[in-house]
C-alpha cells in the first residue's frame, strides 16, 4: 500500500480559501489498483495552532517582564537595606554624639540599646542586662519609676518622670526622662527614650525656693518689729486719749498688713508651684467667717462703705483661713479698682447644694478679652491708669488655686466701666 499526503488550499464557502489535507492511499488488488482520497478540513486545527503560537508569545513576554521586575525588586531591597543600615548608623551617630542619655526598648519595654553617653555617665563598659537602667536609679525613685514605666508600656502612652541617676563616681544627679512609643498599626514596636541631666536647674530651683523661704522669714522679722512698736504706741496714745495720733498709727498698721500680705503671697506662689500648698480642713460657719473677714479687711479700707447681704448660713468643710483669704482678696481688689465714693457689696447665696459668695464693685470693670486671664499668675489690669494700681498680681491666682483645691468654682461677671462681681461657690454641708 502506498500513501501520500499533501496540504492544499481549496476554495470554501463564499470562495474563502480553506486549508485541507489530502491523503492518497493506493492499494494493489487482484487485477488492478484501488485508490482512495480523503479530504480533511484543517481550518480549526490551523486556528488552534495560531492561538497557541500567540499564547506562547505572550508567555515569553510575561516572563521577560517578570525577570525585569525581579531585577528591580532585588535592586530595591539592596537599596533599602543600605538605607536601613545607613539610618541605623545615622541614629547611632546622632545618639552617640549628643550630651543626653538615649536608650531604646522593645515592645515589652525591655531595654535593648544605650548610647555612649550612658556608658560615659554610669562608667559601665557594656550592657550587662535589661535591668541596667533600674540599677542606676535612686532607691527612692525606683518604685514610682517602675509603676509609671509599666503603665506607659501597657497603655502605649508617652512616659515622663523626673528622677535621679547614679553617676560613675556614686553621685546622684537629677534627670528628666521622656520616652515615646514608635508605633506600627497602633501597636508600639520600639520605645525611644531620652534622659536629660537637669541637676543644675533642679538645684537652682531648690536654691531659689530656699532663698524665698529665707527672704520671707527675714522680711517678716522687721515687719513684726515695726508692727509691734506701732501697736504699742497706738495702745499708749489711746490710753492718753490722743485719738488723732492713734488713728494715724492704725493707718500705718494697715500698710504694714499689706506688706505682710505681699510677703505671704510670694511664699504661697512658691508653695503652689512645688505642690506644697497645704490645707488644714475644719467644719465652719460660712457667714460667720465672712462677717469676720469683712470686718478685718474693711478696717484697712478706710471711708469705704461695705454692704453685707447674706443669705441663710451653712456649715462648710475646708480650710477656714484660706477661704477667708479668698474673700479678703476679693474685697481688697474691689476697694483697689473702684472709686472711693462707691459701695462694695458682699453677698452670699444658697444655690442647691452649693453656697456662693459674691463681691461686687462699681469700678472700672474688666474687658471681656482679659477676663479669662485674671486668675493667671502676675496678671494686672492694663489701661491708661495702670500705674496707679499696686500689687504683684498674685492674689487672684492664689485665690483660684484655693477654690480649685476645695473643688469649687471661681469666676467673675464684669463689663468695662460697669464694675465687676467676683464670686466663688463651694459645696455646703447638711
Amino acid at each position: 500500500m502506498k500513501k501520500k499526503k499533501t496540504e492544499i488550499m481549496l476554495p470554501g464557502k463564499n470562495k474563502r480559501p480553506v486549508p485541507v489535507l489530502l491523503s492518497f492511499n493506493s492499494l494493489e488488488i487482484d487485477d488492478g489498483l484501488a485508490l482512495s482520497v480523503i479530504v480533511t478540513d484543517l481550518s480549526y486545527q490551523k486556528e488552534t495552532e495560531q492561538q497557541l503560537k500567540q499564547k506562547n508569545k505572550q508567555l515569553e513576554e510575561a516572563q521577560s517582564v517578570t525577570k525585569n521586575l525581579n531585577a528591580q525588586l532585588e535592586q530595591t531591597v539592596k537599596e533599602r537595606t543600605n538605607e536601613l543600615f545607613e539610618s541605623r548608623e545615622h541614629f547611632k551617630f546622632l545618639a552617640d554624639n549628643i550630651p543626653t542619655i538615649v536608650w531604646t526598648a522593645n515592645a515589652k519595654g525591655v531595654i535593648d540599646y544605650f548610647n555612649n553617653r550612658w556608658f560615659e555617665y554610669t562608667g559601665e563598659e557594656k550592657m550587662n542586662s535589661a535591668n541596667d537602667l533600674l540599677c542606676c536609679l535612686h532607691e527612692d525613685d525606683k518604685e514610682k519609676y517602675l509603676a509609671l514605666w509599666n503603665e506607659a508600656v501597657v497603655l502605649g502612652r508617652p512616659f515622663e518622670m523626673v528622677h535621679r541617676f547614679k553617676k560613675a563616681d556614686g553621685e546622684y544627679r537629677w534627670h528628666f526622662s521622656h520616652a515615646l512609643p514608635f508605633k506600627n498599626n497602633a501597636e508600639a514596636v520600639t520605645w525611644f527614650g531620652i534622659s536629660t541631666d537637669i541637676d543644675d536647674q533642679q538645684r537652682a530651683i531648690e536654691r531659689k525656693d530656699e532663698f524665698i523661704s529665707i527672704a520671707s522669714h527675714e522680711l517678716k522679722t522687721p515687719v513684726t518689729s515695726i508692727k509691734g512698736y506701732v501697736q504699742i504706741l497706738r495702745f499708749n496714745f489711746e490710753k492718753e486719749g490722743n485719738m488723732a495720733a492713734a488713728e494715724l498709727l492704725s493707718r500705718v498698721d494697715n500698710q504694714i498688713n499689706k506688706l505682710s500680705t505681699l510677703i505671704s503671697d510670694l511664699l504661697d506662689v512658691r508653695k503652689i508651684e512645688n505642690g506644697q500648698f497645704q490645707f488644714h480642713e475644719s467644719v465652719f460657719d460660712f457667714n460667720e467667717m465672712i462677717i469676720e473677714v469683712v470686718e478685718e479687711t474693711g478696717r484697712a479700707l478706710i471711708d469705704r462703705n461695705i454692704i453685707c447681704e447674706l443669705d441663710e448660713t451653712h456649715q462648710v468643710k475646708g480650710d477656714r483661713n484660706k477661704i477667708g483669704q479668698v474673700v479678703s482678696n476679693f474685697i481688697d481688689n474691689a476697694g483697689k479698682y473702684s472709686p472711693g465714693d462707691t459701695n462694695i457689696i458682699v453677698r452670699t447665696a444658697v444655690n442647691g447644694d452649693n453656697i456662693k459668695l459674691m463681691v461686687q464693685d462699681f469700678g472700672m470693670g474688666i474687658p471681656k478679652d482679659q477676663q479669662a486671664k485674671v486668675f493667671e499668675r502676675f496678671f494686672r489690669v492694663t489701661g491708661e491708669a495702670e500705674n496707679t494700681y499696686a500689687g504683684l498680681g498674685l492674689g487672684l491666682y492664689i485665690s483660684a488655686e484655693i477654690v480649685k483645691r476645695h473643688k469649687g468654682n471661681i469666676g467673675l461677671i464684669s463689663d468695662k466701666g460697669k464694675g465687676s462681681t467676683f464670686y466663688f461657690e463651694l459645696k455646703r454641708m447638711n
Binding site: 522669714h217 517678716k220 522679722t221 509691734g228 512698736y229 501697736q231 504699742i232
Partner: protein
C-alpha cells in the same frame, strides 16, 4: 487671778526688738515677764518655773524645735505650755510635729497675741494643784 499671784511668762527669741515688744505688750496685762535672747539659758529656770514659754523656732545657734522637744521630755517642765512664735511659714505643721501647745505666726496683732496667751493660761489652769 485665783491664786492672787502674777503669772510668769518666759520668752526666748534672738531678736531683741521682738523680745522688747512682747515684753511691753505683756506688761499691759500685768504678767511677769522674763526674756532671753540666748535660748541655751532656757533650762536654768531656778526654783520657780514659768507658767508659759514663748519660743522662737529659728534662732541663731539654737533650734527652737529641739528645745520644745527637751522641755516636753523633761518631767519637771513637760506640763508648761509651750507656744511657738515664728515667721516660719510652716509653723502650724512644726507646732503639731513637736507637740507645742499653740503657735503664733509673725507678724501678729497685739490683740490676738494677748488673747491667745490668756486663753492658753486659762486652759492650763485645771492641771495646776487646787487652790488652798
Amino acid at each position: 487671778m485665783a491664786t492672787g499671784k502674777r503669772k510668769k511668762i518666759f520668752i526666748a527669741d534672738d531678736d531683741k526688738d521682738i523680745l522688747q515688744i512682747m515684753h511691753l505688750m505683756l506688761q499691759t496685762k500685768a504678767y511677769d515677764v522674763e526674756t532671753t535672747c540666748n535660748a541655751k539659758n532656757i533650762f536654768e529656770f531656778g526654783k520657780e518655773l514659768p507658767d508659759l514659754i514663748l519660743l522662737d523656732i529659728w534662732m541663731s545657734g539654737v533650734d527652737g524645735r529641739e528645745i520644745c522637744n527637751q522641755l516636753k521630755k523633761n518631767e519637771r517642765t513637760k506640763n508648761i505650755p509651750v507656744v511657738f512664735i515664728s515667721a516660719n511659714s510652716n509653723i502650724k505643721k512644726i507646732a503639731e510635729q513637736y507637740h507645742a501647745d499653740a503657735y503664733i505666726a509673725k507678724p501678729f496683732e497685739m490683740d490676738y497675741f494677748l488673747n491667745k496667751i490668756d486663753e492658753i493660761l486659762e486652759a492650763a489652769r485645771p492641771e495646776e494643784p487646787a487652790d488652798m
